[in-house]
């Protein structure tokens, strides 16, 4: 619920503002408003996003490492059982959609799934708890959910994209990769081109000259769409979910004395937040799963040699 001094707009804006810190005027300090944050430009960091990501990632690593160290082939305990279920689930997903052999893909998928799930899970923490606690500690803004910050999702998608490019070059070679970008989807008939002036050959060369740019535009968009869609899908879903929680919180935030209208609004907030929260459990899991599956699929495509 909003503090009395804030208008609804201010409340929403406050919730959507990251704790952006950077070097400015010769010192490291954090922005107190959206405008200030914007002024810092590219070389600033969202401390809350990075901090929460780090904490949740370490939580994941330590939890799984703790289990991995004690893993026995005997009867597993509760925690080991959970970890095994997760790992077998990921392993099956990877076996199902990844046809190549690469020891990186399965751990990558596991990290993506668990880490994104944990980051998304923060969306279920009542939206005012942590920001108010942080305010009490002197931090003006704090966004608890890293995946509602496009920087986090773009960062993840960038990591995946770099891997896709790396394996594309590694598996297909520079020529193969360029060929895939320029000779698809049209013009598979253009090759082979010979050094002769026969009419058929000239026609093929002409077709190549016309179709290579067309192919390149299509394939380049196709390539770029992978990280963009990864990043924006996750961000969009989480951002929208967060926004709905904020809007629901405004209903109770309009509290101005015990009137029937206020009580009704407050009751609606409680009920709707509960309903949305339950639905959101599905969404956060689904988004983590989609990100993971698409990563596997993109890497699989990077590993496949077409022609």
């Amino acid at each position: 619920m909003a503090t009395g001094a804030l208008t609804s707009t201010e409340y929403i804006k406050h919730h959507l503002q990251n704790l952006t810190c950077g070097l400015q005027d010769g010192g490291f300090h954090c922005a107190h408003s959206a405008a200030e944050a914007k002024e810092m430009g590219f070389w600033a960091i969202n401390v809350d996003t990075l901090g929460m990501s780090l904490v949740l990632g370490l939580f994941f690593l330590f939890l799984f490492r703790y289990v991995a160290k004690k893993a026995t082939s005997g009867v597993p305990g509760g925690l080991q059982n959970f970890v095994e279920v997760m790992i077998e689930f990921i392993d099956n997903s990877v076996r199902g959609s990844f046809t190549g052999r690469n020891p990186l893909v399965a751990p990558l998928a596991l990290t993506i799934f668990i880490w994104i799930f944990l980051m998304n899970l923060m969306d279920l923490v009542p939206i005012d708890f942590i920001p108010l606690a942080m305010q009490a500690m002197g931090l003006s803004h704090f966004k608890l959910v890293p995946t509602t910050d496009p920087n986090a999702t773009i960062g993840l998608a960038l990591g995946v994209f770099i891997l896709v490019l790396f394996y594309s070059f590694k598996m297909k070679g520079v020529g193969g990769f360029i060929g895939e970008l320029t000779l698809h989807p049209f013009c598979s008939f253009c090759l082979p081109v010979k050094f002769s002036l026969s009419p058929g050959n000239l026609l093929r060369i002409l077709a190549l000259i016309i179709l290579i740019p067309v192919n390149f535009i299509l394939e380049f968009v196709n390539l770029i769409a992978k990280p963009v869609s990864l990043a924006l899908r996750l961000f969009g879903n989480m951002y929208a979910g967060e926004m709905i929680f904020i809007l629901l919180a405004l209903m109770g935030g309009a509290w101005a004395g015990a009137s029937i209208a206020n009580v009704t609004l407050f009751g609606s907030q409680v009920l709707l937040s509960l309903a949305w929260g339950i639905f959101h459990i599905l969404i956060i899991t689904l988004q983590a799963f989609i990100f993971m599956t698409l990563t596997i699929v993109y890497l699989d495509m990077a590993h496949q040699e077409h022609h």
Partner: protein, 156 residues
């Protein structure tokens, strides 16, 4: 909601997490899973083998039992035969022995009779001599009449 260096930090963090996951989390858990799979497979195979062994053992035990029964029956039959044989032999032996004893007894009896007869003869001879002496009122010289007496003895 500005795009800033956070995304670089996030990507680096991502890479480090993935690397850690690949190095220290994934392999031990997968190893444990594989080991368990192996153990279960081994256990199932062992159970299968045990079942087979049990079946074989049951078959063998039935065989052994059957053999033992046969042998026992054989032994009993043999015993039976031996018993009759022994019995028959014993009967024969007993009969022979009895005959032998009887013969010996008969011989002894014969001897006894002849000895008695001898004694009797002697006594009769003595009586005859005594009687004759009495009759003759004089002492008959036994030695002088020995020949006569022995003839008499022979006649008795």
């Amino acid at each position: 909601m500005n795009i800033n260096a956070t995304l670089i930090g996030q990507a680096i963090m991502f890479a480090i997490f993935v690397w850690f996951c690949m190095k220290i989390i994934w392999p031990p858990v997968i190893r444990a899973l594989e080991a368990r799979k192996q153990r279960i497979a081994d256990g199932l195979a062992a159970a299968e083998r045990g079942k087979l062994d049990l079946e074989l053992a049951a078959k063998r035990s039935a065989e052994v039992l059957r053999e033992a029964k046969e042998k026992a029956a054989e032994i009993i039959a043999q015993g039976e035969k031996l018993k009759t044989e022994t019995l028959d032999q014993a009967k024969v032996t007993a009969r022979d022995e009895a005959e032998r004893i009887m013969i010996a007894a008969r011989a002894e009896v014969g001897q006894e009779v002849s000895r008695a007869r001898e004694t009797l003869r002697q006594q009769v001879a003595d009586l005859a001599v005594a009687g004759a002496a009495k009759i003759l009122q004089r002492e008959v010289d036994a030695k002088a009449h020995a020949e006569l007496l022995s003839t008499l003895k022979q006649e008795l």
